[in-house]
Structure formats: C-alpha cells, structure tokens
Symmetry: C2
Subunit: 499 residues, 2 copies
C-alpha cells in the first residue's frame, strides 16, 4: 500500500524494543494513559485520508502539559519519533502514525480557558473542537471565522498544524489570519510563545512559520484565537448554469466588481446530484454547475450586494437564481455543499479528495484538463470548489476492491495536482501535504527550496523526530521522483499543450 | 554615539582592505555604479532614524538583478557584510550602514512590471514607491492598502523588509497580509520564490517568515502585491475629548460594537497643537485628545456606520464630533495626523519616535505610566496612536545639543518599551527593531527564543553577512543587558506596581 513511510526514500528511522519503551515510559509517567495492545491501537491507524493505515508503536493520551513535556524529553533522550494528532480528521495523512513512533493524541486538552469579549479573543487548549469555540463565543455575539467542513469534529490544534481554511476563507482568511498566539513545546520539551496579543510581533514571524507546519516543528499546547462579531445579516444566492465555464466567468465578474462574498462555492453536476440525493438541499439536479454566493455584513449593505451580484450572475448566463428565503434554507444550501464529500462517498465505494489551487483565470482550462485526464484513467471525477479563491477539490471516484483502481486513482490525483502547478497554482490549498502529496512537493519546489525547508526544520528539530516523512520530502525522494516531473513549470507539461 | 554596531556586543566583523575590494568589485562589474569616496558616501550615512550616523565602506547602486546576484556572490566569497537599503525612510535604523560593509541600494529597481486588474495583483520591482503602486492601479479602480506615513517616499522592498503598516492596517492588515509572492536572492546569489499567486503555499510559510525580517534573510528583487477595489465611500469623524482616558474608552466601544473602521487614530493635546500649527488641519487645539475615525465601504453602509459610531462617541463623552464635509476636508484631517511627526519636529530641536504596541485595554494605564516616566526624565512626550490596534507612537522631545538629553531620551524610550512588554504588548508595531530596539529584544524574548531566531537566520545566511547586528541581538548582548530587565513580564516591573 502506498502512503506508508518508506525508509528507502524518507530516511531510516531508529528502531526500538517496544516492550522496553512502554515499560520505561510507564515508569516515568505512571498516570499517563498509554495504549500499546494491538486491539487498542486500531482506532488510531489512520486519519481522514482513510484508505491508508499504519499501526502506531504506541498511543499516548496525556491530559496535562507537564506530561507532554516529559514525554517529549523522553522521546528526545531515547531518539523515538513522535507524531501529534488532534481529532484525526485531516485529509492528507499528516497525522498518520508511524510503526516506529509514538502517536501523541492531544484530544484530552479540550478546555476553553478564557474568552475576552472586549479584546475579541479566546484562549483555548489544542483539543477544543473548531465549532465549540464559536458556540462558546456566541453569547457575546462573537464567533471564530475559519470553518472547515469538518468543523463539528476537527480540533483547533490540528487547524493550526494544517492552516485550515473553509468556505468563508475568501473573506475571512485561513487559520493563520485568525490566530494571535500559540504556545508550543519543542521536541526537547521547551515551552515557547509564538506571536503575541499585540498587532505584530518583533523578530521573525514564528507564528506564521509554525502555522501549517504539520506537526514538524513542535506541539501546540495552547492557542489564542481572534473572535469576530457575527455579521448583522447573511444571505445566500444559489445560481444555476447550463455550462460550467459560464459559472467560472461569473466568479471572475463578482470578484472583479469588488464584491468580497463571505463564501463563493461551485459544484458540478455529479456533486450536485450526489449532495441533493443525500441532503435534499433543494439543488437543481439538472444544472451543469451551481454557484453558492453568501453575502454578509450590515443589513442594507447585504441587500445592495445581493442586487449587484444577482445582476452579474444574470449577465454571466445563470439560468436560475434563488435567494435563500430564511435562515433554515440558508443552512440547507450550505449543508449540501459542506456534505459534498460524504455525499460522493454514497455513490462510490471509495473516493479520493484532491486540494489543488489555481489562479482563477485558469479555471476553464483546468476543468477541461481534468475531464480529459478522467477519461484517460477511466475514473469519474466530481468537482467541488472554493471558487472565489481558486481552491479546487476534485473528488476521484474509485473502488479500492477493484484491482488496480486505487493505484489508478492515485496516479490520476498526482496528474491533476501537477496540472495545477503547471498553470501557476499549488498542490494544496487547505488540506496540507502530509503523506499524500509528498511526491508532488518535488514538482512544486526546486532542490534549493527543499534544502531551505530542511534547514528550517533542523532549527527546531535537528534529530527529525517530529512527524518525519511528512510535508517536506527528502532530496533523495525528489531525485527518485523528480526526473519525470515539472519544477516550477519549467519543463513542458504535455497536457497543457493539448488544451 | 549609541546605535552603532558594537563588535564587543554584536560579534566581530571581518575587516578588509577597502581599496582592494573596490578595485576587485569594479573589475568584476565594470558597469555597476559604485561609490567609495567619502563625500559620495555622506548621503547614505543614516536612514529615517536620523540622529545616528555611520559611514558605509562603499555604496553599490545596481540596476539589474544579475548585478545584485554577482555582488552577493562576491560578498560571500570575500566574506563582506551587506546591508540592503530601499528609500532609507525606516525609523529603527534597519538600513543603517556598516563601516565594514557594502550598502546595497535598491533604489534603481523602480519599475512596475505588470498590473493584472482581473487577478487584482501588481508585480513590481523593490524600489517602487508605495504610493506609486496605488497611482498606477488607480485607472483600474484599484489600490495597494498599506499606507505608512512615508508612503510618498518609502519603497515596497523596504515595506516588505519591515512589514510596514499604516493608518489603515486595522482593517486592511500589514504588508504581510497584502503581498502574495516575493522573489529574493539569498546571500549566495541564489534566486528563490517565496509564496505564490494561489491562496496558500505548501511547505513552511517562507513568505511570512521573510516579511519583516529586516534584510537579514535575503534581498528582495520582485514583489507581487494584492490590489483592492477602492471603497465606494469613505467618511472621517473627528471627535474631541476633555480627557484622554475617555477617548481610549471610546475606542474600546467602537471595536466592541463590531465596527471595523478603515482607520482609528488618537492624538493627545501636545500632538494636536503641533499638527494644527503646522498643517492647519482644523483640529481643536484645546482638546485633551482627539479621535479620527474613518469608515469606508458601500455608500449606505458608511452612512449607517457613521450614525452608530457617532452615537458611541457621544456616549463615551466626546465634547464635539465633526464629520469631514467633503473629500478636501477628509484629506486635511488625515494630513494633520500623517504629518504629526514632522509637526512635533517643529516644536522641538529633536524628537525620538517610539513604536510600542499594547493590548487596547491597557491604554489608560500605559498613558499614565508614560506621563510619570516623562516627568521622571524631565522630557516632554507627545502621544500619537494607531488606537484601533493598540500601536502607540510616543514622541520624546529633546535637544541633542543639550548635554545628556540624547542619553536621557534613549533611556526614557527604553523604559516606555519595557512598560509595553510588561503589560503584554511588544516593542514594535510597524517600525521594526533595527539597531534602535536591539536591546529591548532581550526584554521581549527569552534566550531559547533568541537562539531559535539565530538558528533560522543561519538556515538562510550561515556566515551572518546580511545586515549583521540588527533585529536579533546576540546572547552576549542580552547577557550584558538582560540582568536588569524583565523577560516576558516574569520579573516585577516597578513602574507597574505604582500605577
């Protein structure tokens, strides 16, 4: 099975006597919850990238920062790799365990420590669920803006690790734009404060460097997030199109007109039908594409924006435009989109979710390319987009039990990501690199850039004990992988010639 | 004179035969403009922190990227320090030259390479002036948001180096939030692309790490900035207060109500009088404090916000509220604020501008503390604030020709910054650390954090040739300086006990 740590390509990992380590760690931290029996380890074999499994050597579930600190010092002293895990909802295998490593589960750190409505901040432990922050802030009329589709379950520590986005990040930014400060432990158990509650922090921007670093630089033990005032009003328009290219043009028109929607999402016919079948959101199942455009802000402003956007959508060729008539319908429109992945899961035994980003102007060309690749590999692709910021989520439908289909799905996914890079985009918008896109990093970056990443990693974790084999490929891996692939689009990408 | 590079505290610098280096570099790059005669070097002795001067060994004014690349390779090979400089308007001595180093002036890279109105981006060379970008984008109804007071003169490369802000950064963010991609040269002349035109870039966030790194990690040779649609409407309210604490409360009320003003600035009586005398902005010279609150967006939205903010200001105790009646008056209101520094320069032989940030709730306490410190040191302090984001610019008035006043001004400045740190703030909001605040970094960060900064620096520039002695202090300097100062507010700060 692919997506496993490969010692040949990712570098050797230290090997240990598991029983001895368990005994030692148990003696050191008698009140640490530590799982090591095979049946106890099963639930931790995978994260959201669920077709792939690895059994961790052991699983630690600490409940106090001092335990994490002691565990990290132990791991450093004994040279044992450590993989941190929040809720395990990540989609790129960033929290996939290692057979030779400790899986450090931060789920028990689930307390909201403080909400300061005046400053507009919340101080929370890393295991707090994304949605729980907004729920706790709601009595003050505040909320936490980033809203990944997994927000009911995903934890803020994982959001920081992956720099999570969501359907509202076009207007409100990614995780990095919505946090002020994180407290971390380095691999040697040292506690550092990154960022501050002030506007800007002197020195190098460690907070931004850490956010999205996928557990490779340290372990989050506390996060101070920004809270926003809930907009006075929010309306959603649902526009239908008989051609997906026209929907793409409409996106360009809206952004070009200077409107910044709270969310601007596109779905193609296959996604529309899957979502409608599952959620009964009220989507037009015959449309080739729909756009969901949310406008939020002051009442009068939203009314005006709805009129402007409605006119733009009509000009762009929308065959039908509906405005959610009440909050229940607005929620239903979004529920269809937010459940598009599981909805596709109902019409196919397995699916593989991609996360490429492209410059918006390349949308039509990339969609055409995906359709051609889909035909070439004989696998259906459902397209769901954060259209406003060019973040695509093509879902490749396959059956892992059909011989060769998983391999074909992976190969098709890799081709789609390389297509994104070739048009000036990138291999991930919000899901991260993890294990899944480790090879495509060699297409995104050249060897000087990869070397610099390793040097930065070494500044935090010279023995590379934290989440090895994720996010940043070894140069050896790139050398094996690289010869056949583009670097910064410098080599010709055959698909592009044809489009 | 202080603020000079100090080999004892900052580490030794390599010493060279200047004539030999000039000859070698001249032979290597015959068409490079290279200044080395003392009279030619004079104009480059200081940046905006103008009380302090150092003569550089030589000044290079390249016009092509290949020349910069060759110069950096030469500097690496010969082990010569390099200080990059944009327009030299920085206020913390970040671009102050070294007697033993080359000053690399990027001013000739002043071309706007490309404006893409559809994508909302501009690709510019580093020497392009901040305001020139907005001027070039204006025909498309677009502009570049960050607007430091020096925006007529300062260059975008310097803005990136210092992560510049401005009066509108409460709503629109700092430089780091308004750029997509920079092309840099490392000290060994290697060209790297940081960031991308896509939403997010995989791997570690090198763009954010680089932004604000004060010329210590590489040389900017190209910047891709975001352009925003000019707001339909902008109104400014000018509110007078008979007590500066009430003005502070009004700020909390406005932010707490969920209004995000385009700008929210406060000035105290001394600043008001100085600015009015200079600019005739129409300010109330008897007020203890004024607030300038700009509201921008759609026409109807701005009208509504003006009503809300007006009501909040009245409740908070404003003695008078005026709305700029036309664009000319709006510009005049802002001109008073934007010229507050030179205005203070007219009422005092010299002034020293601080740049601390504090949590907004600490405003009253910190103002009281500054008043007490001002009395203790016998120097007047004029207060100008980006009130919305807690970024204070106390201006210490002194006379460099009066014996001991410069030293007293520096000592008072240091105490003010340490007060900011002690209440949970930071020593710089937007001006950077440079030479000026190098000692206060030891108050802001502990030795583990400083060590990490050095490790990150080493990942880019192991021989520490780029802008040595700025931004990040040596541990030796902190050891000399640190024993008497707070770390993370852990030690008691005597002033705070008294407030």
């Amino acid at each position: 099975m692919s997506f496993q740590y490969d010692e040949r390509l990712d570098g050797p990992l230290p090997t240990h006597d598991k029983a001895a380590l368990v005994a030692e760690l148990g003696a050191l931290l008698p009140d640490l919850q530590l799982l090591h029996a095979t049946e106890d380890l099963r639930p931790f074999e995978c994260d959201g990238l669920s077709a792939y499994r690895t059994t961790p050597m052991m699983v630690a579930l600490p409940g106090r920062v001092e335990q994490v600190q002691a565990l990290l010092k132990f791991a450093t002293a004994r040279n044992v790799p450590v993989v941190a895990r929040g809720a395990g909802t990540g989609l790129s295998g960033g929290a996939m365990p290692l057979e030779k490593g400790i899986l450090l589960v931060m789920a028990r750190f689930n307390r909201i420590l403080d909400i300061d409505p005046e400053a507009g901040t919340a101080r929370v432990q890393p295991g707090v669920r994304n949605l729980a922050i907004s729920q706790a802030a709601a009595p003050h009329g505040l909320y936490y803006a980033p809203d990944p589709s997994s927000q009911i379950a995903c934890s803020i520590g994982g959001n920081v690790a992956e720099n999570a986005g969501g359907v509202h990040c076009l207007k409100y930014g990614l995780t990095v734009h919505n946090i002020l400060k994180v407290e971390i432990l380095t691999i040697d158990g040292e506690r550092l404060t990154l960022g501050s509650e002030a506007l800007d922090s002197p020195g190098f921007d460690l907070l931004a460097l850490f956010t999205g670093s996928e557990g490779m630089l340290g372990i989050v033990v506390e996060v101070t997030v920004k809270l926003l005032t809930r907009p006075q009003s929010a309306k959603v328009l649902l526009a239908s199109f008989d051609d997906i290219g026209k929907a793409g043009d409409a996106v360009a028109q809206i952004i070009g007109a200077g409107v910044i929607p709270g969310g601007l999402e596109m779905m193609d016919n296959l996604s529309i039908r899957a979502a409608e079948d599952f959620i009964k959101a009220g989507y037009p199942v015959d449309a080739e594409a729909i756009l969901l455009c949310e406008l939020d802000g002051a009442e009068s402003d939203v009314r005006e924006d709805c009129d402007r956007v409605g006119a733009l959508l009509r000009t762009a060729g929308a065959t039908d435009i509906r405005i959610a008539q009440d909050e229940a319908e607005r929620q239903r429109f979004w529920a269809g989109r937010k459940n598009a992945f599981p909805a596709v899961g109902r019409i196919s035994p397995d699916y593989y979710c991609m996360d490429g980003t492209i410059p918006r102007r390349e949308l039509a060309r990339v969609l055409k390319g995906i359709a051609e690749l889909s035909a070439e590999y004989g696998l259906r692709v459902a397209n769901v987009f954060h259209a406003g910021d060019g973040n695509m989520h093509p879902l490749i439908l396959f059956d892992a039990n059909a011989p060769g289909e998983l391999d074909r799905a992976e190969a098709l996914g890799a081709r789609i990501l390389e297509l994104c890079v070739a048009v000036g985009g990138s291999i991930t918008g919000e899901h991260g690199v993890g294990r899944e896109k480790i090879n495509q990093m060699c297409a995104q970056f050249n060897s000087d850039e990869i070397t610099l990443f390793h040097a930065l990693k070494a500044a935090f974790d010279p023995a590379r004990l934290l989440n090895p084999g994720k996010n940043i490929p070894t140069l050896h891996r790139c050398a094996e992988f690289g010869s056949m692939h583009v670097h910064h689009g410098a080599l010709p990408f055959p698909e592009l010639e044809r489009f």
